[in-house]
Every structure is written in structure tokens, then in C-alpha cells.
């Protein structure tokens, strides 16, 4: 671990020396002219992760609530297993499916629909090719849903049954009982969401394959973009000169530190809920 940080800092020294903080806020990325600014990638990473969370959080919460609070055990077990299988599908397979199935769907149906009804927003204007930020976000959402679901499920399961029984005994409906359970598990659920965010930030292959890989900052979600992980995947093998390589390693370092902090914070939240419930 320490070795990882050391090696990455060591190898990104050339760009740190050359560009300093400007590296993080520069908008231009032109390897041929040795100009490196990582802002488009940071922007792309954040926006695609936000799209993923917007879709995935309600979906995963719904699944987890259904599995723990509502479905009888006989149905819940196989469904839970199938949701877990979604997590077992490799990233590159999501990418393949994204290119040939999801992207055309976004181009021909979803994008057209959004343009028609929400087209007054700058988010949904522009050239609709199916390959771009929106598709990337959707693929990410599908990929982090099983992860968030699994953690939320574990958290809901440690909420003591007595709380549910008490609420039901007072005449609360099933949904009102669920709301009480959710309230008690709130900080753990936040942890689960942040864990999902950590995964979305670092997800590489699937996003690389559908996001279009273009270093620009555009308000439209239809336009192609770039994430930190995907710029690494797409360019690392061909980065031959020292400064270029060092620039890539430095944004890798940024990604590493960010996901490290995000994951550590999420772990803390989730484990605190577990402890409180057992106490």
C-alpha cells in the first residue's frame, strides 16, 4: 500500500514539478504539445458518477427494501442471488453490451424521449449518437446497483426485529414500519451509497467503451466525455514520452487518493451502524 503511493508519487514527479496545481484545473489536454490539464477528466468522472447515483440509489434502495422488508424469504433468496450475479458480470462485458445494445437504445429511444420532453434543459441538447456521458452514467448505474443493494440489505438486516414489531403493534402499515427502519439505518445507507460512489469513480472498462473518450467539458449529457479511469485505460499503453506518462500516473494518483478516502469514509459509516445495532 505504502509502496503503491510511493511509486506513483515518484513517477508523477515530472508533471507535479512542471505544472503544479495547474495540472488539476487546466482545461487543455494536448499530449502532442505536452500540455496537460486534467480538469475534463475530473469533470467527466464526477458527472458520470452523479448520473449513476441518481439512477442507482432509488433502484437499489427499492430492491433492498423489497428483499428484506416485504418479500417472503422463498422469493427473496433467489432474487437476491440474481442481483448478486449482476455484480459478477465483468466490466468489459458490460462495456460490450453497452456499445451494441444500450448505446443504440439511448440513441433511438431514451435520448429522443429526453430531448422531446426535457430538451429545454442544456443537459439534453446536442448531437445524439448514443455514445456519451449519459450512456456511461447508465452503465455505471447498472454496475453499482448490486453493490449498493448488497450493503443496504446487510444494514437493514441488522436493524432489530423488535423495532418492526413495535411499529406494527402500534398500527403502522408496512410502509410506515419500513420508514422507521430506514430512519434507523440512515447513516449506514449513506455509507452504502458512498461505497457505490467509490466504485463508480474507479470503474474503467465499461465506461471507456461507451463514454466516447473525448477530453471536453460540455453541458450536454449526449456529448462524449472522458473519465480519469478511461483516459488511463485508453492512453497508458501508448504513452511513450516521460512527461506524458508522468501526467497519466499523476491523474491515476488523484483517482487513487480520492477513492481511498471515499471508501474509508464509507466503511466507517457502515461499521458504525453495525456496532450501534449490536450494542
Amino acid at each position: 500500500m505504502a509502496a503503491m503511493i510511493f511509486m506513483m508519487v515518484w513517477n508523477s514527479l515530472p508533471t507535479i514539478k512542471t505544472f503544479g496545481l495547474n495540472f488539476l484545473i487546466g482545461r487543455e489536454w494536448k499530449p502532442a504539445e505536452s500540455v496537460f490539464g486534467a480538469l475534463p477528466f475530473i469533470y467527466g468522472t464526477i458527472v458520470s458518477s452523479i448520473i449513476a447515483l441518481i439512477i442507482s440509489v432509488p433502484l437499489s434502495l427499492g430492491i433492498a427494501i423489497f428483499l428484506v422488508e416485504q418479500a417472503p424469504k422463498k422469493i427473496a433468496t433467489p432474487i437476491a442471488f440474481m442481483v448478486e450475479l449482476l455484480a459478477a458480470i465483468p466490466s468489459v462485458v458490460y462495456g460490450l453490451w453497452g456499445i451494441f445494445v444500450l448505446a443504440p437504445f439511448v440513441r433511438d429511444y431514451l435520448g429522443v424521449f429526453l430531448e422531446k420532453y426535457l430538451g429545454w434543459l442544456p443537459l439534453f441538447q446536442g448531437r445524439l449518437t448514443g455514445i456519451g456521458m449519459l450512456t456511461g452514467g447508465i452503465i455505471l448505474a447498472l454496475m453499482i446497483t448490486p453493490i449498493i443493494t448488497a450493503v443496504v440489505r446487510d444494514i437493514l438486516e441488522v436493524v432489530p426485529t423488535q423495532q418492526r414489531e413495535a411499529a406494527l403493534a402500534l398500527g403502522a402499515t408496512k410502509w410506515e414500519t419500513t420508514q422507521i427502519v430506514l430512519g434507523n439505518a440512515a447513516s449506514g445507507i449513506a455509507g452504502a451509497v458512498i461505497l457505490g460512489l467509490g466504485r463508480a469513480l474507479g470503474e474503467t472498462m465499461a465506461v471507456t467503451m461507451v463514454i466516447g473518450n473525448s477530453p471536453q467539458i460540455s453541458a450536454s449529457l449526449f456529448e462524449p466525455a472522458y473519465t480519469i479511469a478511461s483516459v488511463l485505460a485508453a492512453n497508458f499503453a501508448e504513452a511513450t514520452d516521460e512527461l506524458y506518462l508522468s501526467a497519466l500516473i499523476e491523474i491515476g494518483l488523484v483517482l487513487f487518493l480520492v477513492t481511498f478516502v471515499v471508501n474509508a469514509f464509507a466503511k466507517l459509516l457502515v461499521s458504525r451502524v453495525g456496532k450501534r445495532m449490536h450494542a
Binding site: N11, I63, L86, V93, G202, A229, A264
Partner: protein, 280 residues
């Protein structure tokens, strides 16, 4: 009175509405899984053949296959297992049996965060550590990257499985005068062996689907390659290359290769499921 009744009816209505919505979420997730799998099955089956499984990639239009990619994946996964399993299992045993101190807690925390580190970062790390000094990409680097991904997963599942072994078994052995290492080696490990094996299998399933850390460590190769010091092809990188290629023939080969990969991964997952259900 009627006011109360209508409130009651509304509460019940909201409740059943929410049940329906949450059920719909679950149905949606399953639908996504089935849609993805059926696309792979249909498109993969239509372009798979024995020749495809043993051939090496050829220029577009001359057929070609994924034989060397399968071999490369197997070799690198093997290397990852040889390095990763002993270290991972050893760390797991330590954490479970002797890990209730500051060092154990730190290792556990680091292992947990290492699991969450994007795998492409592991690739960069191995690149700076092995590829740059060696001067070229190699199967060795790819296998090592996979091993690093594998170690924390194996360590954590091993630890959990060993914790499931009842304490009375340890106490019984200790009371008979067995030293600590014998208790761990001859009593605890055999009792937890099925669990550890399933954890290892899940880790293998996970790394066999990894692409990002192989992209610039193992790179790729168009030929059968049995040597760890040369660039090596892998199933996942080959899928990536075929999928992003411009030609329809390539896309068909990507689907076929995916069918092989996903069959393997699902088989492991379902087998593990079957094994653990019988036990607990």
C-alpha cells in the same frame, strides 16, 4: 368517522403502492440480468466454433480465434493463484486467529480499502514496479497485478470463514495439549477448508473478468505464448479489442469470446452458491 376511514384507506393505499414500486425495482434488476445474458447467449452461440476456440487472431476477413487468449488468461490466472492464494489465506488466518491487535486492525482496514481501489490503479502500480524496469510488458506483470487484486479478497473471506469455526473446537484441542500452531493447522484450517475454497473460487471468478489491470501490464499478443517474460494475450483484453474494433466480424468474435468468459464466471458463482447452501 368517515374522515378517519379515508385516512386509513389512504395509508393502506400508500403502503401497497410502495410494495409494488419496490417489487418493480427488483423485477427491473432481474430483467437487466436476463437481457444481458440472453444477448450474450444468442449472439455468442451464433458465432462460436471449435476453430474459433483454438485459432490465434488473424487479419480481418481470414477468420481467427481466441486460442492464445484463453491460454494467456489461464497462465496469468494460474500465476496469480500461486502467488495470491498462499499470501491471502495466510493473511486471513492471521487476522482471524491472532488479529485482535492494532496491527491486525490496520491490516484489515487496508485490505478493505485495497478491495475498493480501482483495478486500473493496480495496473499502474505494477507498470511502474515491473514493466518500466523490465522495459517491456509481460505475462509476469499481468499475473502479479491479478495477484494483488486477489490477495485482499481471499484474505477477508478466509478470515470470515475461520471465524465461523466454533471456539469449542479450538479449546478442545488446546485442552488436549496441542500447541497453538497445531490447533490452527490441524483443527481450524480443515474445518474451514470448504469455506476458504469457495472464497478462493470467487476470487478466481473475479480476476478472470478483470481487464483494466492487464491492458498495459500484459498488453496483448497475436501468438501462442508460453513464457511469462513476454507480452501475453488474455480473453478480456481480446474482448475489449474486438468490441472496439471497426468491423462486424470482430464484434461477432467479441460476443463469442464473451460467451466463453461469462459461462466460466457464472458456473463458478453458481457452484459456490450450491456448495455454501449445502453447508450452512
Amino acid at each position: 368517522m368517515s374522515n378517519k376511514e379515508s385516512l386509513h384507506r389512504r395509508r393502506k393505499l400508500v403502503s401497497s403502492l410502495m410494495t409494488t414500486i419496490t417489487a418493480a425495482c427488483a423485477v427491473f434488476a432481474i430483467a437487466v440480468l436476463l437481457i444481458i445474458l440472453s444477448y450474450i447467449a444468442v449472439r455468442g452461440l451464433s458465432s462460436i466454433s471449435l476453430q474459433f476456440l483454438i485459432d490465434t487472431p488473424k487479419p480481418v476477413g481470414e477468420g481467427g480465434g481466441i486460442g492464445n487468449a484463453i491460454l494467456g488468461s489461464v497462465l496469468m490466472t494460474l500465476l496469480a493463484c500461486v502467488i495470491g492464494l498462499p499470501i491471502g489465506i495466510g493473511a486471513g488466518v492471521y487476522l482471524a486467529e491472532f488479529g485482535e491487535n492494532l496491527f491486525g486492525k490496520t491490516v484489515r482496514f487496508l485490505a478493505d480499502t485495497l478491495i475498493g481501489v480501482p483495478s486500473i490503479i493496480i495496473g499502474i502500480f505494477i507498470y511502474t514496479l515491473i514493466v518500466l524496469p523490465m522495459g517491456r510488458q509481460s505475462g509476469l506483470a499481468g499475473g502479479l497485478a491479478l495477484a494483488i487484486i486477489m490477495i485482499p479478497i481471499v484474505a477477508r473471506t478466509t478470515e470470515e470463514m475461520i471465524r465461523l469455526v466454533p471456539n469449542s473446537m479450538r479449546e478442545g484441542a488446546l485442552a488436549l495439549g496441542a500447541p497453538q500452531w497445531r490447533v490452527t493447522w490441524n483443527i481450524v484450517l480443515p474445518a474451514a477448508s470448504t469455506g476458504i475454497a469457495t472464497g478462493a473460487m470467487l476470487a478466481i471468478a473475479r480476476i478472470s473478468g478483470e481487464t483494466a489491470p492487464l491492458l498495459f501490464t500484459a498488453l496483448n499478443s497475436r501468438f501462442y505464448n508460453y513464457f511469462y517474460d513476454q507480452p501475453m494475450a488474455s480473453l478480456t483484453v481480446q474482448i475489449f479489442n474486438y468490441a472496439t474494433g471497426p468491423f462486424d466480424v470482430e464484434h461477432r468474435m467479441a460476443w463469442a469470446a464473451t460467451l466463453i468468459l461469462i459461462t466460466l464466471i457464472l458456473a463458478i458463482n453458481i457452484l459456490v452458491r450450491f456448495l455454501t447452501r449445502k453447508r450452512f
